[in-house]
Assembly symmetry: C2
Homo-oligomer: 442 residues x 2
Amino acid sequence: MTENRNGVWGQDHPIGVAVLGMGTVGTEVVRIIRDHADDLCNRVGAPVVLRGVAVRDLSKDRGLPADLLTTDAEALVTRDDVDIVVEVMGGIDPARALITAALNAGKSVVTANKALLADYTGELAAAAENHRADLYFEAAVAGAIPVIRPLIQSLSGDRVNRVVGIVNGTTNFILSAMAETGANYADVLAEATRLGYAEADPTADVEGYDAAAKAAILASVAFHTRVTSGDVYREGISKITAEDLETAAAVGCTVKLLAMAERVSDEDGKDKVSVRVYPALIPRKHPLASVNGAFNAVVVEAENAGRLMFYGQGAGGAPTASAVMGDLVMAARNKFFGGRAPGESVYAELPIASIGDTPTRYHVNLQVADRTGVLEAVAGEFAKHSVSISTVRQEGHDEGARLVVVTHHAQESALADTVAALAELDSVTSVTSVLRLEGTEE
Amino acid sequence: MTENRNGVWGQDHPIGVAVLGMGTVGTEVVRIIRDHADDLCNRVGAPVVLRGVAVRDLSKDRGLPADLLTTDAEALVTRDDVDIVVEVMGGIDPARALITAALNAGKSVVTANKALLADYTGELAAAAENHRADLYFEAAVAGAIPVIRPLIQSLSGDRVNRVVGIVNGTTNFILSAMAETGANYADVLAEATRLGYAEADPTADVEGYDAAAKAAILASVAFHTRVTSGDVYREGISKITAEDLETAAAVGCTVKLLAMAERVSDEDGKDKVSVRVYPALIPRKHPLASVNGAFNAVVVEAENAGRLMFYGQGAGGAPTASAVMGDLVMAARNKFFGGRAPGESVYAELPIASIGDTPTRYHVNLQVADRTGVLEAVAGEFAKHSVSISTVRQEGHDEGARLVVVTHHAQESALADTVAALAELDSVTSVTSVLRLEGTEE
């Protein structure tokens, strides 16, 4: 055991922890701190003791001594006997002010708050820096799966080129169920709500806001660049239809809501970061295609490491608490031994690529009249807008004929112009859907 | 940027690195240090400069200035301008003495040397501790895949129950090729040797010594217990036949060389650690079943995190160098900012379970006479030795009849006694193979 470098903590002077919020994650964090005191003491070097838990409602029975509960979170985070604050209440306010107050008082902070981090990591990291405190946030992305620490530390000597993840369990549950059962979006969402996989107001999940916050955090650490949620191009899954899943399956693909952060080159060959969240077709052989239900996975591609994948439970009380506790032990060790968490690294300051700068492949589904010349007319519109076609597949006959066109990489604007022109063709009844295609080699 | 806490390193005083060995990994490490100087400087806080590379043969052209090359590794590791030593020469001697000398001189060490760590982590960690130096070894297990750091840090607030990995690329290449082509072991090994996937003397890989060293390292960090290679029960793949792969496929399984470290309970309910390496059947649906070729993957099961999987390239110059470089940056940051790598944690001191204490399921392949009463006689022997049968499948007729018996969990000694008794039965022509079955739910 290394000596206690700061000379403050030890057997007679435990490391004090305050927990903000006692929802599903907070409850598990409190349980682990209390039930695993011996392990934690051995791993940290000093006892880790719960000093208090900030809750909104004192009357609820939480199986904790009354003197550990308080509604006064502000007082709790600056208490002298608190060394580390665990924030698992969520939301921007009052979490932002409480974390800032804690850091300003020199307390280290462990947070699972992706919405807050996606917009305010800069100011929080500066407060941590100024007061020599740690700010850890492994639990903010992909629950129990270690992905922030690998990106910040394990890959710190490599050059990340791409991060692609399934980081929202609700939408993955919905898309997996639609693919399996053929049911439509509304019915599966209703079922997901009933089972507790979707919240009463599912907007943050189904419209991609949650995934976009996580994409911003992943992009920031992967590319040493400050990326906020406003930098993320975002589309949700609420327009995905049963037919989309069906046509995806017909071409050997499945549909997933992907969070992507990618190094792209602009015309002058300068690096930019493209950060985007949208539902896309991916080939069934792609490692992310078999990530089903509430599971999460993140694929990282780096220059030297090649392709890595991290897989596990992306949400839930105990899994998220596992990530929080890992950070808590490291923050406590830093207090005890005198180390510091790596701070915010934004030296690369890469510009953010607009979605127009980021060509992708497209999968375009057309309802067409079944007569000669249709294919020629459709192909002509793609050519006219310089969108190169990879494959065309025709299905059905007579009134129900369908064309499925898969393009090579194309600019979004060129594709939009093509689609507008296709809709005007006599032989095209309707453009049924336009979805991006990701994860193919070309 | 945090201040330079130790006040030694900075723009005018770079962090000096010595590299021991310039094989496939060392060459890549040297390339990255030289080509990515700007990124490294930004990530560390001070320039990282290559001071020298120890090689055996100075006459070989390595594209490096001559004054960077030396055959005097001993002098190199203790040079005043060297702060961190990267050991990628492999083998026990002289690596052990060189690392010890470096640590004794207060240099931090980054090593990829699994054989050395599997037996000498205790003494090396003690030297690091005594001289306030870091000992990092992410690259020793599973190449580029971050698994040591997640186990030591990310899961430090959790309780790991099991680690199961495919951590040897050579054997995985051989078993994958046997499964795909139906070819026998000797032919595939010859092909692997020709392609450079197997060494001229493949013993360390095919007999499981390499995987056993990695299993010992994984077990040590996962269970906070010192586990050495001698604690690992080990069987290789050299006796696996084309028929084994075929019968495995017939029951929906594939054969993989697994490195396992598992928390098991003895009769008194006390925890022990079982560490073992052997080829086993796993169901095709198991996440490790689709890890093919030279890829590695490690599944970690923890009380709160649940099941996590880490996947990527387990060997090769650039991938392994990525892991080395991540450790190098963290070690350099510690020099600069005053932190320390987590030291060896062996407080749990769990006893090692013998293979006899670790019941597994078995897949027993019998050549039998095709006559009535055979099944009864065979089943009787299993019952007599208290080995409970899960399924029996009969294949073929007449001279070629075959029985495949899959058991429930059984003690190794009971299974061995059963097999001996089966061999004595008139109706059993031969016991063709006995393989373990892992990764099933029961």
